[in-house]
């Protein structure tokens, strides 16, 4: 009952993280169905319709069930401890925000057993195709509404906590980067989640109440859905990466034993990326037939995002420069992030060039691109963050050898998995096809092998984390990382159930900008 009723940010943070990991596992199994079917040409295991259901559910579960709750879990655990307050501002809302999730995903997963199967129209839910969904349709819409409510409550909680409850002396420009990136992410969430809710509600009324927002025969416009969806969807992809930027900006200075380079420009770059994310949505839609002026605008604005993103990467490297680096597991994941995310950024820049995008669009090149920014990007950052803070959470050190093995195993196989997909896309393999022409065989075989190997490796992580949660391991000191700064390291490990009931005195050594 403690876990159901709890309003403690640490308990809820743990719940979020455990939930996210469960969803990663479910979504991962779905991706194995996909990669299993694509192992060789011809249809071996699943019906094409079921294949489409798997691609759709894999995406929805990974985005809304995996990455977002994992980041929320980290925010729950760390934001109050980093700004020096006792809990999030709205603890009961926090409890609700979490407990909505199992219902939302229970509803979504139950569609697998319904007449007509789960949604099969891709996570983008483009009409008119999505209107052909069977009995799963209303469950899809309502589960998205619930996920949206959960995200918004989490975001409001983070904003209010950060703006109102910082310890005296913790000015905005002294906050850790993780707090900054989450603050900006929370604003993005509050701005765009209602847009998604609106779009799917319009789908719902189109299907059941005779409206024709998106039905051409009734005077509607199927492309309007795409505009609304991507007005949500593009900021959403930054929701999935900004907190990762914050994590990496926390880990690299610690293990380089050097202050983050260009703290202020990091903050401004994050804000610039957030702003640009609102005006580039139609680059997902270059092929829908926009006017030339529109295509030019979206091409130029999209290319601009490379500038603040580049600044971030340069700053991370400048932080490492002339540092004194050691390579514990969190640092390995952070460095893996910088390297592989940059590759994903490069393919993103290529995709921004509209004439070339006409060729790349809806091919495996795009699949490779967004998996490079989401798996070695968002997921590696989450894993790095967990290794970084788990001594604080459990009071014991994780097994360093297993952690290092987990990193190298993941880093190798994730490239085997996704790098060949660049070639597949360039050679002309469309996305979301359950079967392919025989010239695409070789790279698909390699990619599938990578997928299975990557998945298996994650059990090493589960084992390591379970050991920590059981308290098996070397006891962790309050500040287990020599170069770590921040209020969270001033409390004992494991962190007491209630921290900072009295606001701490903020020492200049413990703030991000001038540690």
């Amino acid at each position: 009952m403690r876990w159901v009723m709890t309003t403690n940010h640490k308990d809820l943070g743990t719940l979020y993280l455990v939930w996210a990991f469960t969803m990663f596992f479910v979504g991962g199994l779905m991706s194995l169905v996909i990669r299993g079917e694509l192992f060789e040409p011809g249809l071996q295991f699943v019906d094409p319709e079921f294949f489409n259901q798997m691609t759709t559910m894999h995406a929805l579960i990974m985005i809304f069930g995996g990455v977002m709750p994992a980041f929320t879990g980290l925010a729950n655990w760390m934001v109050p401890m980093m700004v020096g307050c006792s809990d999030l501002a709205l603890p009961r809302v926090n409890n609700w925000g979490f407990w909505i999730l199992p219902f939302a995903f229970g509803m979504l997963l139950s569609t697998l057993f319904m007449d007509g199967g789960a949604p099969a129209s891709g996570w983008t839910m483009y009409p008119p195709l999505v209107l052909q969904t069977g009995e799963a349709f209303p469950f899809l819409i309502f589960s998205i509404h619930l996920m949206g409510i959960s995200s918004i409550t989490g975001a409001i909680n983070v904003v209010v906590t950060i703006l109102n409850m910082r310890a005296p002396g913790m000015t905005l420009l002294k906050m850790p980067l993780f707090v900054w990136t989450w603050l900006i992410t929370a604003y993005l969430l509050i701005a765009v989640m209602p847009v998604l809710a609106g779009a799917v509600t319009m789908l719902l009324t189109d299907r059941y109440f005779g409206t024709s927002f998106f039905t051409a025969s009734g005077g509607g416009d199927p492309v309007m859905f795409q505009h609304i969806f991507w007005f949500f969807g593009h900021p959403e992809v930054y929701i999935l990466i900004l907190p990762a930027f914050g994590i990496v900006s926390t880990i690299i200075p610690t293990f380089a034993r050097k202050t983050l380079f260009g703290y202020a420009s990091m903050v401004y770059a994050t804000a610039a990326i957030a702003f640009l994310s609102f005006i580039v949505w139609a680059h997902h839609m270059f092929t829908v037939g926009m006017p030339l002026a529109g295509e030019l605008f979206f091409m130029f604005s999209t290319m601009l995002i490379a500038v603040p993103t580049g600044v971030k990467v340069f700053n991370w490297i400048a932080t490492m420069w002339r540092g004194s680096m050691t390579f514990e597991t969190p640092m390995l994941f952070a460095l893996g992030f910088v390297f592989l995310f940059t590759i994903g950024g490069f393919s993103g820049l290529m995709l921004a060039i509209a004439p070339a995008d006409f060729q790349y669009h809806d091919t495996y090149f795009v699949v490779a691109h967004f998996h490079y920014v989401l798996v070695p990007g968002a997921v590696f950052a989450i894993l790095g963050a967990i290794y970084y803070w788990i001594p604080k959470w459990t009071g014991v050190m994780y097994n360093e050898k297993l952690g290092q093995f987990h990193f190298w195993w993941s880093a190798i196989w994730i490239n085997v998995l996704f790098f060949p997909q660049h070639f597949l896309g360039l050679a002309g393999m469309p996305r979301r096809i359950p079967d392919y022409a025989v010239q695409f065989t070789d790279f698909n075989v390699i990619s599938s092998i990578g997928a299975f190997a990557f998945f298996i490796g994650q059990f090493v992580f589960i084992w390591n984390m379970i050991q920590c949660m059981r308290g098996v391991g070397e006891p962790a000191p309050a500040r287990p990382w020599e170069g770590a700064h921040g209020l969270e390291w001033t409390v004992p490990s494991p962190a007491p159930y209630h921290t900072f009931e009295e606001p701490p005195v903020v020492d200049d050594k413990e703030v991000a900008a001038h540690a």
Partner: protein, 405 residues
Amino acid sequence: MTALTVQAEAEVAKWNMPVGVTEISREVHGLHMLIFWVVVAIGVGVFAAFFYSIWAHRRSRNPKPATFHESTTVEIVWTVLPFVILIAMAIPATGTLIKIEDSSDAEMSIKVTGYQWMWGYEYVGEDYSFYSRLDRDSDRARQVGSGIDPSSVDNYLLEVDNRLVVPTDTKIRFLLTSNDVIHAWWVPALGMKRDAIPGFINEMWARIDEPGVYRGQCAELCGRDHGFMPVVVEAVPPAEFEAWLAGKRGDEGSDTAASEPVQVAEADTGTATATDATEVAAADADADADADAEAEAPADDAASAELELAALMETGEKVYKTNCVACHQASGKGMPPAFPSLIGSAVVTGDPTTQIEQVLNGKNAMPPFGHLSDEQIAAVVTYTRNSWDNDSGVVQPADVAALRQ
């Protein structure tokens, strides 16, 4: 010509974007390579600093970290420099984009319509149109557990029953639309793809330089058979194209209504297909025609014979699952009001003529299925009339043939 075709197909670029056979596709390829090398150059610089730092600034080699954490000059440089690089890339990209969007002065227009799951092609103003679907060999091999090795099928999943034949050295405007959901028409060698959206007409254009066969696929998730709607464009010299088109129109204009020439592919006898082959000068068409003629023959025999309920139900279920299930659902309940239930519906239980005509010609949101064979239509009609508690008798292929216009 055969040699060229083979060459074009053999040069399947495995590692990179194909160069293509239009001016636009060459420009796009050039842009792709330009930005690729720019990215590689930046990557080499950034990763060199990254790995050098990891090597030289590890603790065992550099125990005392530096203390700098700011440099306005450096930060300005690495903000401004990318700007300049981006502008340098944006200029050629803008030029190409303007060319791509300029479809004026087209010499001919082809209307491309996406269906779940095939393409309809209409030569605008030429009074000729047809449907183009996955070819039989690929279709057989792709069934779950077919036991057929895909590599034994020529151009597995990239071959159609009726290719889109176009002239070379001609500015062709493609008008794209759709009849049901959003599809995307894509032939990599033409350097372009564009969505086919219901209620919209989108435009793209191409001027193909070299005769040959160019293959692509639908690129927008369009439902169950999204992976199985290839696009095959056969470019021939203009004179040959004129002869081909004249032949096509001459044949069908006289004995069938021009609006439904597609019947030739499915319903007419093998001779019609053989005639096609002589007129399409492409050498490889002969082999296809033989195969087609063989494939047509049994279907034709079947059409003349009376079929048993069981046989019709079995075929009908397959046809239903491929064509009807998305809207009317496996349960037959449909999704009212958009897609009516078939259980006990007046159309399905009443006079079969109404239902056959509706399947052939479509009604409201329901597309026409005239491209299906008589046997397939008879089977699916029989299937719906005898499933889910319906019990309304058998329809024979002959009944369907009688109603075709």
